[in-house]
Symmetry: C2
Subunit: 216 residues, 2 copies
């Protein structure tokens, strides 16, 4: 049975992992006959946002502990990820990706990637196993690889950031998957477009199917 | 277009709404051509649990604000729910239902129901519109109505609590929906059974389909 590692960035679209994208990625994996384990870095969130008002809350939360809410407690520190034990690595989206897994939300093309995230991606790539990224997550691939082809949908500012990092942005709409053949990378826009939950399910199914098709 | 009101109990299986059940209920509604609005009571959570360790955290969180994470900010105070504006009311599960929406987790058959939850259910029932409950949520219907037929799957202690409140518990397995014809109530076990995420998606689809079939 093929096994995905799913990497989360917290729990909630505005400061963590986007919950629908995370849940529907797990659903897509299992529906297509594969299985998964969930990972997150053991670091403090950049900040905590009240998802009702959008205002910052005077709290501190931990990315691994909050991600455990989506994973129902079954989650591991990303430090312990071993590429040898998995067939693919996939990143659902959410602003937490651009705030916790890297700082693209604040620094754009000059962003830094969390070391555990970068190591997980490089180790997976070194074995030429597929890496998937939904929503805003492709910015991490653009930063690490520097010359890849990805999509985040149609957002002009983000697309310009990706081009500035040396990569090529492909404009897409709901459910489309861009495949970088050379590096075995898969990206799809999800909630980077104005989307509904059925479109997110389709995007997740399409990217997982594309990745499954390239596994050895 | 038919419209559901979805009521959440926080964000996370152990102290709030079960995230997969909540997400997959919304997906099932939209996949079947209906729409939804999300509600939660504006109250403090009973407690906050670290979902990685299971331990209580010295924090306070609000049910409405945390539920907003699952709803991507589009959520209303349950106080403002008007049964006239909806065709059905549905409760995903999670321990938060038994800790925040009522206190069944602590008091069993002697539990009290949150007044906003009780009012929403009674107003919906008074118009004979379908009410759905996943996972542990059927205990609320058993308490309010006292003589209904529901399922929470196979958990002996919870089933006994339901019988003690005067209702009938029907033993079920994955994806089955019990319909109380007289009161127009729909229940399905989801994660009250040892289930995987595909089985949760099936349970959510089946209960939503059954409810859609009974709408006027």
């Amino acid at each position: 049975m093929k096994k995905f590692a799913v990497v989360l960035a917290g729990c909630g679209v505005f400061d963590g992992a986007e919950i629908h994208e995370a849940t529907l990625t797990m659903l897509a994996i299992m529906k297509q006959g594969a299985t998964y384990e969930v990972f997150a870095p053991d670091i403090q969130q950049h900040h905590v946002l009240n998802h009702l008002t959008g205002e910052e809350m005077k709290e501190k939360r931990n990315v691994l502990i909050e991600s455990a809410r989506i994973a129902r407690g079954k989650i591991k520190d990303l430090k312990n990820y071993e590429a040898n034990n998995f067939d693919a690595l996939i990143f659902p989206g959410g602003f937490g990706v651009a705030k916790n897994l890297c700082d693209f939300a604040f620094k754009g093309a000059d962003c830094k990637i969390n070391p555990d995230v970068e190591k997980a991606i490089l180790k997976t790539a070194s074995k030429n196993k597929p890496i998937g990224a939904l929503c805003i997550s492709p910015v991490i691939l653009a930063k690490i690889f520097g010359d890849v082809e990805v999509t985040i949908g149609q957002d002009k500012g983000t697309a310009e950031g990706i081009e500035k990092m040396g990569s090529t942005h492909v404009r897409t709409t709901h459910g489309e998957v861009i495949i970088d053949e050379k590096n075995n990378l898969f990206t799809t826009p999800c909630y980077m477009l104005d989307a509904n939950i059925v479109q997110i399910a389709e995007g997740a199914e399409n990217i997982v199917r594309a990745m499954m098709g390239r596994m050895k």
